[in-house]
Amino acid sequence: MMKKIILLTALSISALFAQVKSSVEVPYIPFEIKMGKGFSTVQADCLMCHSFGYIINQGPQSRKFWRGKVDKMIEEFKAPIDKKDAKIIENYLFENYGNGKEQ
């Protein structure tokens, strides 16, 4: 009887950690994002590195804030976003996730 219990425990431990030995899958979360002018650019340029959750959970922000974020992605994180796209993304973010303030 004792042997059996030990065996069961051993089995349950290997089962618990088996998933890190094989590949794990992080679920995809369908964050609700607003449709709007420039959305397809946001989709193409932002999603490479992060989810929409990362955008919508920053809170409503000023144009200056969103411009700063886009600049940070380009300058610090080296995202290949050209000037035209950067402006489109900034406008989309401010129109949909702005606080109405320019500064």
Partner: protein, 399 residues
């Protein structure tokens, strides 16, 4: 790109921030604790408050913080870069020690567990931006409630023992820590942390176990740095490299992120940002109430037990005070067992509500240096929304 159909669905994510604020600009308030857990569970986790799936950002519900240890399957998650290896082979995983050392080392998990003294430490790990949603105007960054933290019993090997084995060369001053998370673009800076050798003591360990189990994948399997007393930005996950240098190397995540104004109040205004900043490093004194929760109804004249946890950067909790009259008078809560100066100290406070209607329950921790939590409104703003430690107010109704 695999994620083609994301915009077709209209399932509300659990953590969208609503744009409403009637608060005066600049006044710090209670963090937003109204968010519910997602219906999606991440690997080895129960459903948690979910801000992002890539990189994964998960918050622990406040109700979990009534005990000293936070269960692994409810422990918060915060990564910085989108590409986390989805497969780790524990039989071949090694950690490299290089730079200004006499012997470069490649240590396997097995060697780490066999060739070194195994040690344990109870320690809180908390995101520097925990409770960021308390600040107005809203600082950039994830608008966390107060659950971007947890306390665990970590098991591993002293960093000092590993460095001793490698042998430091004279002049060695800085240590860089790098994990396996990667960016989408080659040119994006890695999430590397640097610490000065002077900052490290015997409590700093390279851990492979958390609360008696292997580290969960999302908490840095198979190895992470454990830096008791420090905010979690330096607790590098999936640790792969330790590099010793004589000079500080300029890095984005060190020089631009996780910094507060270098003045006494660590505060500034959006109009006049502080010129000089410093890393967030050591945690300040803080407590949260896990029970009751905001909006709860409690019975008149019933036995209510307020439960929560308190901690600081390693000086130790001296007492936790509870107020039921908006801070006019305070009574001492009962502290449970001391599990070490870096761990949560859980507290209990029993009382019988005598008046019907709204009741505000507050908790204030005081550490062994006499430092205590301020009221929210007395906490100055900083651009990163870091280090909030205001007195929590739980609003309940006596019925």
């Amino acid at each position: 790109m695999k994620r083609r159909d994301f915009f077709k669905t209209s399932i509300a994510a659990s953590a969208a921030v609503l744009s409403s604020t009637s608060l005066a600009a600049g006044e710090t308030h209670q963090p937003n604790e109204t968010r519910k857990v997602s219906k999606y569970a991440f690997p080895e986790k129960r459903p948690l408050i979910t801000y992002s799936d890539r990189p994964p950002l998960l918050e622990t519900p406040l109700s979990v913080f009534t005990e000293e240890f936070t269960p692994n399957d409810q422990f918060f998650v915060r990564w910085h870069l989108p590409d986390i290896p989805t497969h780790i082979d524990p039989d071949t995983y090694t950690i490299h020690i290089n730079g200004m050392v006499q012997r470069e080392l490649k240590i396997s998990l097995k060697d780490l567990k066999n060739d070194f003294e195994q040690v344990e430490v109870n320690a809180v790990v908390q995101c520097g931006g925990n409770s960021r949603s308390a600040f107005t105007p809203i600082p950039g960054g994830i608008q966390w409630g107060s659950g971007a933290m947890g306390c665990a019993r970590w098991k591993g090997v002293r960093l000092k023992d590993i460095l001793d084995k490698a042998g430091l060369i004279e002049g060695a001053k800085w240590i860089g820590f790098n994990g396996r998370e990667k960016a989408a673009y080659y040119k994006t800076p890695n999430f590397v942390r640097e610490l000065e050798l002077d900052e490290l003591d015997d409590h700093v360990i390279v851990a492979y176990e958390m609360n008696g189990e292997d580290l969960p994948y999302l908490n840095g399997y198979p190895l992470r740095l454990v830096l008791p007393g420090y905010y979690s930005d330096s607790w590098v996950k999936m640790l792969s490299n330790i590099t010793v240098t004589d000079k500080y190397k300029s890095l984005f995540f060190m020089d631009k992120a996780y910094r507060v104004p270098d003045n006494e109040c660590e505060c500034e205004t959006p109009e006049k940002l502080a010129k000089k900043t410093k890393p967030i490093t050591i945690m300040n004194v803080k407590s949260v109430i896990g029970y009751p929760e905001n909006g709860a109804k409690i019975y008149h004249n019933s036995e209510v037990v307020v439960r929560g946890v308190a901690w600081d950067g390693g000086y130790g909790i001296h007492k936790v005070m509870i107020s039921l009259d908006d801070g006019k008078t305070w009574d001492e809560a009962q502290l449970k067992e001391d599990l070490g100066r870096y761990a949560y100290r859980s507290f209990r406070f029993g009382f019988k509500p005598k008046k019907y209607g709204k009741l505000h329950i507050m908790a204030k921790a005081v550490n062994s240096l006499g430092e205590e939590q301020p009221f929210s409104k007395d906490i100055g703003w900083n651009r990163g929304g870091y280090k909030y430690n205001g007195i929590q107010v739980v609003n309940v109704e006596v019925v």
